[in-house]
């Protein structure tokens, strides 16, 4: 359970997030947490709630709001993923998601930089004197307050630099995730936050392929101190292509779990009206954990599962 002081720090972080987006004319939205149909993602086990699911992400309804005429929107909400428990995972966690119309993943990387500096400005006074890390420690600030550029590393480059086997080899023998966890993540975001970008096209079910290189998707992950903090991409807006990818995911889900998943028809209908945009999911509890200088996410939420 957080101490009263830590509750104040967490509230300051949430306030800073809200003031950042409202100062940039983002509309705060709150979409349904209980969803009758979810976007098919074979690597996420949803938590059932009667004949509905608890959201693993607010993505489908936020994109439908964009199709409905919204431009820039954000949301802070609880998300649920079954059997994700560990030092850096909770079955229920707090997600920040935001979407930008007419933007691509590069704009989201700029947002990430601006957001973290805003959080630093808004919370550093409260963190001063607590002995806790706060945000500043992770931003690689120079003495004059300026900062160093954050590295952008493509997945291909990361494999060349740190992996014992090639990217193609890892994809063929299905060890991509193991290599990322064991050899690449520990190298990312040690001094300044880092972006790992341009994932293999097969690993981004909802992202747009890169114009000049369709073998990769315009997708990135933000890493701080070896920890994945956010996942963003240029959104796929081609309904037919999205349906083909969902078909594959539905097949994988059936094959891996035996669960029969449903095609999200309302989402696909609205996708036809969606103009180019980009969206990102950002783990608030993980960021707060780093700001507290802790290494267990259970120490960064108001009540941990064992305290309920």
């Amino acid at each position: 359970m957080l101490s009263v002081k830590e509750l104040h720090l967490r509230a300051a972080l949430l306030n800073a997030v809200r003031s950042f987006f409202s100062s940039r004319d983002f509309l705060e939205v709150d979409t349904p947490v209980r969803q009758p149909v979810i976007l098919p993602e074979s690597n996420i086990e949803p938590l059932r709630c009667g004949d509905h699911f608890l959201q693993s992400s607010p993505e489908q309804y936020m994109k439908r709001l964009l199709a409905h005429g919204c431009t820039n929107i954000f949301q802070l909400c609880p998300c649920f993923r079954r059997e994700e428990r560990g030092r850096h995972h909770l079955e229920e966690f707090t997600m920040l998601e935001w979407y930008r119309s007419g933007a691509d993943y590069g704009d989201l990387m700029d947002d990430c930089r601006d957001l973290l500096f805003h959080i630093h400005l808004e919370t550093s006074a409260l963190f001063a004197g607590t002995g806790l890390s706060g945000m500043g420690r992770y931003l690689c600030l120079n003495e004059d307050g300026s900062d160093s550029p954050w590295p952008e590393i493509t997945v291909e480059q990361a494999f060349q630099r740190w992996s014992p086997i090639s990217l193609i080899g890892a994809l063929n023998e299905e060890s991509f995730d193991e290599i990322v966890v064991e050899h690449i993540e520990p190298k990312l975001g040690g001094t300044a936050p880092a972006f790992l970008c341009d994932y293999p096209a097969s690993m981004a079910s909802l992202a747009r392929k890169k114009h000049d290189d369709p073998s990769v998707a315009e997708r990135f992950e933000l890493y701080i101190a070896g920890l994945e903090i956010a996942n963003g991409f240029s959104e796929l807006t081609d309904g037919a292509e999205q349906r083909r990818r969902f078909d594959k995911e539905l097949e994988r889900i059936d094959c891996l779990t035996g669960r029969t998943a449903t095609m999200p028809e309302a989402f696909l209908r609205d996708l036809e009206k969606l103009d180019s945009c980009a969206g990102i999911a950002f783990g608030v509890d993980r960021l707060f954990m780093l700001m507290l200088g802790k290494d267990d996410i259970n120490d960064a939420v108001v009540f941990s599962p064992l305290e309920l």
């Binding site: 994700e84 428990r85 995730d177 966890v181 994945e228």
Partner: protein, 206 residues
């Protein structure tokens, strides 16, 4: 690092029904059976790279030969719980390298070799209650009480005014084990020893 494979049982097979474990049951301290041997998970980490699959990264130690290895499991892997049983036993006596125990309930007697008991023999005295861990009806480990009282059978006398400057001296206890104790401990005294560290705790008045 290469290591023994998981049970190798296909995911959809339900051998032993409920005793099969899923990857989501893995945690530090869990004992599972791999290739016929019991293993304890000594380190556990759940990982899931963005949009990727769940990875269950384990360090395991073979509970019989002590060999260690690392292995990453995935959601669909299945495991068999190690069939371990702890029995309350009494240590009776040793005959050379054979240490004889009796089951407190069935009165069955077994023996375990000195080699297998390792340093435990330093702290075992006749008629001591000891928990013995069995795997597949074979004893594989013993849990001693944390503190045991042992009689000092050999000690140099304490010379008052000893100026050697040392504040401990070596003594030998009834099991043949040698340890450092304060100078006032004498032959025939009983000392309490911490079996986890093998170190002197206090002198015992009986």
């Amino acid at each position: 690092m290469p290591g023994p494979s998981a049970t190798g049982i296909p995911a959809d097979t339900t051998i032993h029904g409920e005793s099969m474990l899923n990857a989501s049951d893995l945690r530090k301290g869990l004992k599972i059976q791999i290739d016929g041997d019991p293993y304890i998970i000594t380190d556990f980490e759940f990982s899931k790279p963005g949009k990727g699959q769940s990875l269950y990264r384990c360090k395991l130690r073979n509970m019989i030969n002590g060999n260690q290895f690392s292995q990453t499991y995935r959601s669909n892997d299945k495991f068999e719980k190690a069939a371990l049983e702890e029995r309350k036993m009494q240590y009776l006596y040793n005959q050379g390298d054979e240490y004889h125990f009796m089951d407190n309930e069935s009165y069955d007697q077994i023996f375990i070799t000195a080699e297998h008991l390792g340093e435990n023999v330093n702290f075992m005295v006749d008629n001591m209650d000891i928990d013995v861990l069995f795997f597949d009806n074979k004893p594989i480990d013993v849990s001693l009480p944390i503190f045991v009282n042992l009689e000092v059978i050999k000690a140099d006398p304490w010379v008052k005014g000893d100026t050697s400057g040392t504040d401990t001296k070596p003594v030998t206890v009834q099991t043949g084990y040698e340890l450092q104790v304060p100078p006032f401990v004498e032959e025939g005294d009983k000392v309490q020893v911490d079996t986890r560290t093998g170190q002197y705790v206090t002198r015992v008045k009986e």
